[in-house]
């Protein structure tokens, strides 16, 4: 047989078929018309709304509070704000990984609480604290607290990736489980003693700089480094960007999801362990508000609720928006009940911008 003839018959064949589809796809080839400059600028702004909106919000808040209160824009108050956002910063680091994958973790507050309570549970408490705890050397207590939180994170990861429970529900269960662990360990008491290392890092300073600010900044920095410069970080973005495509590219999606849930538990644990020293005690429900605060920081910063877009720089802006807002509202002496409402409204606006930004990008596809 002559393969030459075969080939030419085939070529004729495929060429013929192409004639049909050519007209159908001719539009693909058309060059776009020239776009006026203003429109281009609008396009550029729209594309960056996710990053610009939080930044503009932050600037506006700073300008507003600076002009409204003389005590706001002072050096000592800057340290106040930095210290106030440090605990959330650690939790928000892990949450950024989770949200970038398009998932959520509602258990970060109680998980932090569990870690904090565990470290206190393994520390010798004052005689007045009536809990049957197990005093151990400080280093051991810290390690055990981290092992405990690692275990909780792995349970979340297992439930999500092996059993297939949506993170929303799975972490809701873990929220209760973590709270339960705290309840059993402290039995309604307040434990004050923590290991010395924890006390230093949570409540001490090096010169004028509080250790907790350094640890918070370090956590964010490591998170940013991992997300930006490592293979795992790339997978996090790709899984969030298009989970199906990641899977068909041979990425182990379940492994990535398991890892982000575990990382999130660990950063929450770090926040909790240092947090009990920072706030001076370990007790039930201590970090419950931090769940919402840290999720809000990530979302307000502009990391997409649907995954794939955003990152630690966004989270840092988000932390400052909320930190400045919380702190600034105290300086302008506003009704503290109104304060909660204002925070809620800011969060709602951030959510609207977030979803809107997503839609604008989707339109471009």
């Amino acid at each position: 047989m002559n393969s030459q003839a075969n080939l030419s018959a085939r070529t004729a064949f495929s060429q013929h078929h192409e004639i049909h589809t050519m007209t159908a796809l001719g539009t693909d080839l058309a060059t776009p018309p020239a776009i006026p400059t203003t429109e281009r600028l609008a396009h550029w702004l729209r594309g960056r709304m996710r990053n610009l909106a939080p930044f503009v919000t932050l600037l506006a808040l700073i300008i507003f509070f600076s002009s409204a209160s003389p005590s706001f824009a002072t050096g000592s108050n800057v340290w106040n704000i930095l210290t106030q956002v440090s605990v959330s910063a650690m939790m928000a680091t892990g949450l950024t990984f989770v949200l970038l994958c398009g998932e959520i973790d509602l258990s970060v507050g109680p998980m932090a609480n569990a870690a904090g309570v565990l470290v206190a549970y393994f520390t010798l408490q004052d005689a007045s604290v009536n809990i049957a705890n197990i005093p151990l050397p400080g280093g051991v207590a810290i390690v055990l607290a981290f092992i405990g939180i690692l275990f909780l994170g792995l349970v979340t990861a297992f439930g999500v990736t092996r059993i297939g429970i949506p993170t929303f529900i799975m972490t809701l269960a873990m929220m209760e489980i973590s709270s339960g662990i705290c309840a059993i360990a402290v039995r309604g008491q307040i434990a004050y003693a923590v290991p010395d290392l924890v006390k230093t890092l949570g409540a001490g300073s090096i010169g004028p700089i509080p250790w907790i600010v350094i640890i918070g900044a370090l956590t964010l920095a490591v998170g940013h480094f991992v997300l930006t410069y490592t293979r795992f970080g790339r997978y996090v973005y790709m899984v969030g960007g298009n989970r199906e495509a990641a899977e068909y590219s041979g990425v182990n999606v379940r492994m990535v999801l398991a890892a982000v849930m575990t990382i999130c538990a660990l950063t929450a644990g770090l926040a909790g362990i240092l947090g009990v020293a920072h706030f001076g005690s370990a007790q039930q429900s201590e970090f419950d508000d931090f769940t919402i605060d840290s999720i809000a920081a990530v979302v307000v910063g502009g990391t997409s609720l649907f995954g794939g877009q955003g990152g630690i720089p966004n989270t840092i802006i988000g932390l400052f928006v909320l930190g400045v807002l919380n702190n600034g509202l105290d300086h302008v002496r506003i009704d503290s009940f109104l304060k909660i409402l204002i925070r809620g409204l800011i969060l709602l606006i951030a959510l609207i911008i977030n979803v809107y930004a997503q839609r604008l990008r989707a339109k471009e596809e």
Binding site: A9, M22, L29, Y229, Y235, Y248
Partner: protein, 499 residues
Amino acid sequence: MSEAAPPLQMAGISKSFGGVDALTDVDFTLHKGEIRGLVGENGAGKSTLMKIVAGVHAEYQGSMRVNGREVHFRSARDALDAGIGMVHQELSTVPELTVAENVLLGRQPTNRYGIIDWARMVREAGDHLHGLGLDIDPHARMGSLPVGMQQLVEISRVLFSGAHIIILDEPTSALSPPEVERLFEVLRRLRQAGPSFVFISHFLDDVLRISDSVTVFHNGRCVVTEQAAKIDKQWLIERMIGAGHGELEAGYTAEFRLDSRLDAPVVLETEGLSLGRAYRDVSLQIRAGEVLGIYGFMGCGQVELARTLFGKLRPDAGAMRLLGKTLHLGSTAAARQAGLAYVPENRRSMLFYQEPIYKNVTISILERLSRLFLRPQEERRLAAERIKQVHVVPPRVNRLVATLSGGNQQKVGLAKWLTFLPKVLILCEPTRGMDVGAKADVVKIVRGLREKGIGILVTSTEPETVLALADRILVMRKGEIGHEFAGELVSKDRLLAAS
């Protein structure tokens, strides 16, 4: 008019999508109690026409009359109100509900307090099914019924809603031969009572068996309508592929010998692979340096088979062997590590639109590119080579994939497997929706890979795609591998005749 107007009469129907004509000046008349077959290749216009009838497409030129009355449907609801119902290939029944609830879906009888009257619902549904000669328990949960039964329930529902014209889209594609037989029995009985049916199908044998007459579509035109008794499958195929049109015919009936390499070593092999209703007992071999084409109609199980080979789905039974070693794929990651590569059938499942080209290209090879830390410069360099190789225009690796044209996007999806060559490459619909140049590029790339000794599997619902690419062709039909074309003369009409 002396006799009653026909249930459906369409004249001069034209419809275009973005400047491309999908239908050109089509006349179509359906008679009372008739079963009309509608055949044509993918994109010939038969589905477009029926979507106009069912109110899905509201924008079109021409006129449509239902029972002699001029109509122009704006929505599926309008069409349903006028007595036109459609049963899609993917059934729209609710598996968690009972048969009775499904039959009366959206029109459940209520008592005077507005609460659903269950007893009456079951009675009405039961009477209705019985009246249609269907022996189905109205209490049964829909999901527990076989697909054939579920389909009959859906047809009953459409009838119960008062439809007198029922469009059946590929109704036999998921049915076993006895189920097809029962469906036909029911249809023949039903039409005595008056309703007319339109039977859209690729299964020409089925069309010829059940239809009174058959209408053939080709390139957006209604080519011919003929009584089923007077024609055969070959006659239909010739009309469908545009035979009798001079040089067109040459392209479609041109025969060429498949260059099958039956002596090459087997790379990937399956034995008795089965997965639920999707496919059964699939045994095939992909050889080194060979392109194996699998051709079949939509829903024939080829997509599921391809996904199984890449570890996305797990088979119920059967074995897979790669280079003689048994494969147990727990994930797509395991499949990639074993040396398999996969390009899915739509762009949405292969691309990261909001990421630059280079990240799309290197996603599958990051492990070999970096131990822990990324090397973006190296990534960009490699990606630049790859996209040049597949002719992505413009070849700028930092461009967001979302800003590329469709054909270029698809080539980016292919490019990710070209740096470290896989042992087996699975391509689903590799040229669907591509323009001339892009198609030619893909053919060139696939041939190049074949020369390098990769085993390639191409699955497609378009005969042209497998004919242009494959060295050996398997025809898949309702989840089973049927005819094999190897080292023999093939042409499009032979391929269609075998499917």
